[in-house]
Symmetry: C2
Subunit: 357 residues, 2 copies
Amino acid sequence: MEKDLAVKTRTGVIDCDVHHAVPSMAALYPYLSERWRDYVKEHNIKSLEPNYYPRGNPLSARPGSEPSPGALPGSDLGLLQRQVLEPWSVQYAILHCLYGVQMIHNEDLAAQLAQAVNDWQVAEWLEKDSRLRASIVVPSQNPLRAAEEIHRVGKHPGFVQVLLLVRSEKPYGKRYYWPIYEAAEQYGLTVGIHAGGVTGYPIMPVGWPSHYIEDYVSHAQAFQSQLISLVSEGVFVKFPRLRVVMMESGFTWVPSLMWRFDKNWKGLRREIPWVDRLPSEVMRDHIRFTLQPLDEPPKPEILLKVIEQMGSDEMLLFSSDYPHWHYDEREEALPAGLPVDLERKILFENARAVYRF
Amino acid sequence: MEKDLAVKTRTGVIDCDVHHAVPSMAALYPYLSERWRDYVKEHNIKSLEPNYYPRGNPLSARPGSEPSPGALPGSDLGLLQRQVLEPWSVQYAILHCLYGVQMIHNEDLAAQLAQAVNDWQVAEWLEKDSRLRASIVVPSQNPLRAAEEIHRVGKHPGFVQVLLLVRSEKPYGKRYYWPIYEAAEQYGLTVGIHAGGVTGYPIMPVGWPSHYIEDYVSHAQAFQSQLISLVSEGVFVKFPRLRVVMMESGFTWVPSLMWRFDKNWKGLRREIPWVDRLPSEVMRDHIRFTLQPLDEPPKPEILLKVIEQMGSDEMLLFSSDYPHWHYDEREEALPAGLPVDLERKILFENARAVYRF
């Protein structure tokens, strides 16, 4: 399979979801002003590493992805190069730093930490390997401050996307968040919505579940909500060049949502007159999904049917989700049985059309 | 088509979702004790009719379903007989009274009103037409009181189901609700979860949306949450004879949820060891869906694929959703292009297996 891929992808795979990790809060000290360095120390904030991927859980990180015993998977460039960039012949990999900057209630601290993380990304990753790209971490608690951060670093060619987390205080379609989209569109950046985020509301619209598995399975619904909101509020009418990439969302739920959304748009579109065409068409033009982790049907031919039902072969972007991958062997990141054309689209063509490479 | 159906369904259609309406609060006075009749009058509670189906909206009720100008659709038995029972050759129709009993914060009042609604259902509907069946309205605000109401009327042969609304204070899998399931199982009643309910939490797990269309499209997610919760908490292990019928939920989202749930169960089942087989198998054994309103794909053959992907032809139950129907012509309640065997299962065989007829 490796050889096959090398032939198919002369120009290299584009991996649209790779996770690097801030090894410790101390790693950010050089990028914080004295005032905020003191603040973080005085408040004994040792890490903002979220626990979306419980470290003891075998699904959370692939075996061997800890650079040294106890060190965070994804915190070492050399290991990431050896485990992702080289074996996959990666042309570009888009890094997403999941660090709990978005969960802090102090907006000033969040803004400073976002700056520090972005400067750390530039100095320690983007400038060290030309295959790397990254998403801008923003203090989404305050969309105006988030837009400022996009203006501060948006011109850097290493940044291709703005990172939001799917669990939010309000649905992302709301006008409140539009300054983020305006800034992203200005710099030709996509907006990436990744699993995770604040937990102000239960992940279930019917209250708090008891178990991690319920939370995890329900994550797809948070993505569905964001999608409904983005389309209904008219974000893509206001920002016609904007593309949103949903990451770790799964995508086999997309056809069903398109059907339900289209049907009800037909009945209720007077309420949102700015949405002047079928929601499924807006989705096909503006929404993309990374591949892993994949809510995979039992048979490859069913997966093909689902992709066919999405009505577009341009919506899926290859991702390894390193180091969180759920599959057994590296090669399984790409589902078996896809036609060659579709494989090529997923492996790099679709990403090239969406990101500024 | 009508003739076709008459041939196909010699024993008559079973319509699993028909709505009758309490015409006014005064209609319940004969079924309330003096104390509660006074209470309702003194507090000027004129109606608990919910606004799920805004009356001015053409989608909310089929034309001609108002018995007289201004009267509530579904409030007149004769009209319901002429518009549903007769044209569909209905053998049985299951009535669901959507009256906001479940939204009242005073548990005593809720319990009294539930009693009154149930006694009204028996006297004014069930005893007047032997084709009618009904769901027991319960004060789900207090599951112990809800169980008491099931014990009070559960033996009446007209009641075949306990009615819950999909939006709840807690996910329905939680132990808190188990007294309801214990009582339902004892009387051989199904539990029907219908669209609507309390709005304590936003319908989106990411906050409050702005528009009715967002709320409406998102309803499917509330159903998904309840399903995840019911299976994960082990309700069907504790109550192995219990069946849950989801009403007005749509169902094209079911295969995707099965895949996602099965996959994550494989990775995380140690957390819920009582779930000792694939969630999709539990769903196929215990969950049913009414047909309308249908989140219908653009082509009939896709709908057939979706039903095939559910892995069972026993999960769907015919419903007209009278008087809320979304389709243009009555006959369209049953999608075109279904194989005859499947049509028969949907029209009555599946319902007969689930309900006590």
